[in-house]
């Protein structure tokens, strides 16, 4: 039973990683940059939801909606102010800027909310599910997280396959100049990608803090790095890759924590990443299509 319960916890944690990893992978796919501030957008989303329920006494759905709106705007503003002027700069300059934005957001949170951790109350109003006479306990947060992940993945798959903007995003991620020659406004497409990734980050923040209810300015940093790892693990730029990478990473992390060592779990997670990248440098689902001439 502990095996199954570990597996469920792993899938649930992995689902959070997967939702965050989507933001990394979509932005990387389209803007060819690693947005290291993405993890901190999660933290801002969680604080927004916290403030909305605690101070404004808004109902949970309204609080989540508010967090998503704030993060969406934040994502667009970050892209417009910090990254857009660097569109033709070296990737190293963009990377350093992203790290700068990350610290900037953490310090803003420190000024506004202080360094003392806030206790985040779960947004899920149901109790845990008890199966097999109480031997297997599945938390309601796990169920909601996994369901949210599935809905988001299916939604994004339909969006990128069917909608005009989704197709434009795929075109831009493949070839910016060619997309521009089709009449696609590349800048708008990149902004929309940041907006979607940031809205998803808000959801991830709320789900993460519902399961692990300690909220501080650095809350987003570690899950952000892990989700980035998950995106690379699955094949950066690939949406199904983010899903697979996230869930596998969550499972590996929970299993190493419960069977090997809590202290070593992160080392094991990153160790597995290194092994995977040695064997398959493009990640699990990352592929390069053969070009015929």
């Amino acid at each position: 039973m502990t095996f199954i319960s570990n597996l469920i916890n792993g899938i649930s944690l992995g689902s959070v990683y997967a939702i965050i990893a989507l933001g990394y992978t979509m932005v990387y796919g389209i803007a060819k940059m690693l947005n290291f501030a993405h993890g901190d957008v999660i933290m801002i989303g969680a604080y927004m939801s916290f403030c909305a329920t605690t101070y404004l006494h808004l109902p949970v759905p309204a609080a989540i909606f508010m967090a998503m709106c704030v993060c969406t705007i934040l994502g667009i503003v970050i892209e417009g102010l910090a990254y857009k002027p660097l569109r033709r700069a070296t990737s190293l300059a963009v990377l350093i800027t992203a790290i700068g934005v990350s610290y900037f957001l953490q310090n803003i949170a420190l000024i506004i909310w202080g360094s003392a951790p806030k206790t985040f109350s779960s947004v899920v109003p149901f109790g845990s599910l008890r199966l097999f006479g109480g031997e297997l306990i599945i938390t309601a947060e796990s169920i909601v997280t996994v369901l949210a992940n599935i809905v988001i993945m299916v939604g994004l798959a339909i969006f990128t396959k069917k909608s005009k903007m989704g197709k434009a995003m795929r075109a831009v991620s493949e070839d910016k100049d060619a997309a521009e020659l089709m009449g696609i406004n590349v800048n708008v497409t990149i902004s929309v990608t940041f907006a979607i990734g940031s809205a998803l980050a808000a959801i991830a923040g709320v789900l993460l803090c519902s399961a692990y209810p300690v909220l501080m300015p650095t809350t987003g940093a570690m899950p952000g790095i892990k989700a980035f790892t998950a995106a690379v693990f699955g094949g950066i730029g690939s949406i199904p890759g983010a899903m697979l990478g996230g869930i596998l990473l969550g499972i590996i992390e929970i299993f190493s924590k419960s069977y090997i060592s809590t202290q070593l779990s992160d080392a094991i997670v990153f160790g597995v990443l290194i092994v995977v990248l040695l064997v398959k440098p493009t990640g699990l689902l990352g592929k390069k299509i053969a070009e015929k001439v």
Partner: protein, 235 residues
């Protein structure tokens, strides 16, 4: 006949490198105009500047009587300017059909009729419409790139090295298609290294050398010129 495109004295730089020097090109409505010259002469750079992917430091570009010198590339498509870039640049991970849809990105309303027109012109594409473009052969990709550009219903189509990397039979086919497109009312600005073929179908041509226009004239004149023969037509 009226001028559809006027390129007036442009100078384009890549950083410190002065790639295009005082280039002026005119295209009349209904013409096929060729830009020929060796590799690195600045042919593609000229096209990229016209379509707004690069900027000129001096002079100006007029399309259908309007100044487009500082207009973003993506805004020119709906005005009737299509650019088939060098190396085809189809979206390799999208299907043939999706590539055509992207070509019609700026159009509103039904595009079915246009898709059928493209399939009529390029039956191979219809056979492969659900295939990923990356699995097409080079010739098929060139057809797709041209079909995709046609989807925007262009008045002027700029083709950059459409014959590059194709077998002689396919080269002939591509040039036949270009001639057909022109007959059905599309003005063509063609960039080619294959000077012989290009001069055969061109009403007029410009020869670029190291970023400058060296000579210009009608296709026939240039094809008959000794200098051109020696430099570009292999004797």
């Amino acid at each position: 006949m009226s001028k559809i495109l006027t390129v007036d004295n442009i100078n384009v730089y890549y950083g410190q490198i002065h790639a295009i020097k005082d280039v002026s090109v005119d295209v009349e409505e209904g013409e096929v105009v060729a830009l020929i010259g060796a590799n690195g002469a600045g042919k593609s750079t000229t096209l990229r500047t016209i379509s707004g992917l690069l900027r000129t430091k001096t002079g100006g570009i007029t399309f259908e009587g309007e100044d487009i010198t500082h207009i973003d590339a993506y805004k020119l498509v709906s005005r009737g300017l299509a650019h088939v870039p060098e190396g085809r640049r189809v979206f390799l991970q999208m299907t043939v059909l999706e590539n055509l849809e992207m070509g019609a990105f700026t159009r509103k309303g039904d595009i079915k009729a246009s898709i059928n027109d493209v399939f009529e012109r390029f039956p191979r594409l219809e056979e492969r419409k659900y295939q990923i473009a990356g699995t097409l052969s080079g010739g098929e990709q060139q057809m797709l790139a041209m079909g995709r550009a046609l989807m925007s219903k262009p008045k002027l189509m700029m083709l950059d090295e459409p014959s590059m990397g194709l077998s002689p039979i396919l080269v002939q086919q591509v040039f036949d298609i270009v001639t057909e497109l022109n007959k059905s009312g599309t003005t063509i600005l063609l960039v080619e290294q294959n000077a012989e073929m290009a001069l055969k179908i061109a009403d007029r041509a410009y020869v670029l050398e190291s970023g400058r226009i060296k000579i210009s004239g009608t296709g026939k004149e240039l094809a008959a010129s000794d200098e051109i023969k020696k430099a570009y037509l292999g004797g």
